[in-house]
């Protein structure tokens, strides 16, 4: 399993796509510095907001596009034939793929976060101490790390979703489904109170069912709080991480169950 993960990591490191995404994200983080210069006083908030948003967005792209390639492309191009003929069980294969991608994600996100911190550090150095008093939180706020950790957790969940879909759907379809679930997951709360929008009982019930089945991704986004220097309770972080762990386990379990029974044509 660890071997599969290693191979995934190696293959994705060679692939230029994540590089360009990380490079692009770093570029945006750097650009956010310029933008923040134009708006005196607000600059630190805008800088942090843009930086975190860039990390989250490009992380998502990496998770979805490499995530779906992991299994469905391998099945479609039939590279899976030779691998599964080796002494490796199908569950080991799936788990190896998953952890390989998580490793890729963590490395990519670390690079982006370091770039982000470098920009913050630079701004911190070059800003007049007087202006700094207007900032809601210090530049190198450790709470930013909490935001990044939750982003990583969310992306791990998204990866598990992508992996699950890619065990039975084509690459394109899994990408669309994953993005769909991601969008729905962020606007999930609206489904819960759907009856206030359309008061038809079966529809409302369906909406409620969908609400419970879909992952709730809103709690993973604490960017606004962190940027404004509002404390994120430890219990919120812990609960959200636990939620992610449970959801990921269920998805991996499902992915394995589907993959095990599959015919490879």
């Amino acid at each position: 399993m660890a071997l599969v993960a290693q191979a995934v990591f190696k293959e994705s490191v060679r692939d230029r796509v994540p590089y360009s995404m990380v490079a692009f994200a770093v570029l945006i983080i750097a650009a956010s510095y310029l933008i923040s210069q134009l708006t005196a006083g607000q600059d630190m908030k805008i800088l942090k907001d843009l930086g975190l948003a860039a990390i989250a967005a490009f992380g998502l792209l990496i998770a979805v596009f490499i995530g779906i390639n992991l299994v469905s492309k391998e099945v479609e191009r039939r590279s899976v034939f030779a691998v599964l003929a080796k002494p490796l069980s199908r569950p080991q294969f799936i788990l190896g793929k998953y952890f390989g991608l998580v490793l890729t994600l963590v490395v990519n996100l670390s690079v982006m976060t370091l770039a982000f911190y470098a920009v913050l550090l630079y701004v911190d150095f070059t800003t007049d101490p007087l202006l700094k008093t207007a900032w809601p939180a210090p530049a190198l706020d450790p709470r930013l790390v909490v935001a990044v950790i939750l982003i990583v957790a969310e992306l791990m969940l998204v990866t598990a979703i992508a992996l699950f879909f890619s065990t039975f759907a084509s690459p394109l379809l899994s990408a669309l489904l994953t993005l769909g679930v991601w969008v729905a997951g962020h606007f999930n709360a609206d489904l819960r109170n759907f009856e206030t929008v359309l008061d038809v009982r079966p529809v409302a019930l369906l909406a409620r069912a969908v609400y419970y089945a879909l992952p709730n991704l809103a709690p993973f986004n604490v960017r606004a709080e962190v940027v404004h220097g509002v404390a994120v309770p430890v219990s919120h972080t812990a609960l959200t991480l636990a939620y992610a762990a449970v959801y990921i386990s269920i998805l991996l379990f499902g992915a394995i169950a589907v993959f095990r029974r599959r015919d490879f044509k």
Binding site: L3, R14, F81, A82, A85, K86, P87, D263, K265
Partner: protein, 316 residues
């Protein structure tokens, strides 16, 4: 113990989007391959060869029937440790080099440390991939990929290898090379099971063959035993055939066709001994250019057997 054994192995694919109906790709295949045999699995396109191999690798689950390899059910972890598999039109990861890919596979087989590098370079030498081994696979040609595919099937010094069209995409030199590799495997005691639709591949290698058409086994045994491949005569090309000699042999041969001045193709009936005939021609000044046995080709045989096997059954 048989190296490979299938019993009533069948596979249906569901075809049709709106009203899926089962389509029988393999119909009750019962086959047994002894250890140490080179076994040719022949059949025209769409006969079900790849389907059978995938069933043996448990990439597909059978609709009914069983498959055993080395006495254990196909797909068993201990079986996978002892077999090699070359898929049809293999494809691997674009961004890895041949060396990296094979190291990965070697470690999946449980090799560690220096053994990995040693084994990898030895199989790459075997299949004739030299300095290209450090290139990424996306820069490889089709034939080179085919060789890498063969190399990965040999990594674990398998007891049984399954090769799905091992010759496809190879140049004549490559084909001969693969043939030699297969014979070396046999000499080592390895069972070789390979699919092909080219009879000459099988003739040069196999102890036994099975012929599949439309998902059914239509013949199996030694090539010479299969009735359809009985000798049908000899074809002889000779030069410097004098008119007198030509007239003398005319009643004993099936036909004489002029190719060029003094050069003729002579067709002999199977009961005529070519040795005696050659001697006779040689002693009277003619030169023998070539001698070939005439057999029904696999292609002819396929064409006939398609008529013989009634239309494939759909539905259960």
């Amino acid at each position: 113990m048989a190296a490979i054994e299938t019993e009533d192995l069948s596979k249906d694919f569901l075809v049709g989007f709106w009203r899926p109906r089962p389509y029988r790709a393999l119909d009750r295949l019962t086959l047994s391959v002894a250890e140490g045999e080179v076994f040719g699995f022949l059949g025209p396109n769409g006969a079900g060869k790849s389907t059978t191999l995938k069933l043996l690798m448990q990439l597909l689950y059978p609709t009914s029937g069983t498959a055993h390899i080395l006495g254990r059910p196909a797909g068993d972890a201990s079986v996978k440790q002892r077999i090699g598999f070359l898929p049809e039109n293999p494809y691997f990861y674009d961004h890895l080099t041949a060396e990296e890919l094979l190291s990965y596979f070697a470690r999946l087989f449980g090799l560690r440390g220096a053994d990995v590098a040693r084994r990898v370079s030895s199989v790459l030498d075997d299949v004739g991939i030299a300095s290209e081994r450090r290139l990424r696979l996306r820069q490889y040609s089709k034939g080179m990929i085919q060789r890498v595919g063969l190399a990965q099937a040999l990594l674990n010094e398998p007891d049984v290898v399954f090769l799905d069209e091992p010759m496809s995409g190879l140049d004549p030199l490559g084909r001969r090379h693969v043939r030699q590799i297969m014979l070396r495997l046999r000499d080592r005691g390895c069972t070789v099971f390979f699919s092909s639709h080219i009879l000459s591949d099988a003739e040069a290698l196999c102890s036994r063959v099975a012929i599949l058409a439309q998902g059914r086994l239509v013949a199996s045994g030694h090539l010479s035993e299969i009735l359809a491949f009985e000798l049908r005569g000899w074809e002889l090309v000779v030069a410097n055939l004098s008119d007198a000699l030509r007239a003398a042999i005319a009643p004993r041969v099936r036909g004489i066709t002029a190719l060029a001045r003094g050069r003729f193709t002579i067709e002999l009936p199977p009961e005529e001994s070519p040795d005696r005939f050659l001697h006779e021609l040689g002693s009277r000044g003619a030169q023998v250019v070539s001698l070939n046995p005439l057999r029904e080709t696999l292609e002819d045989y396929f064409v006939q057997s398609v008529g013989a096997v009634e239309s494939r059954q759909t539905g259960l």
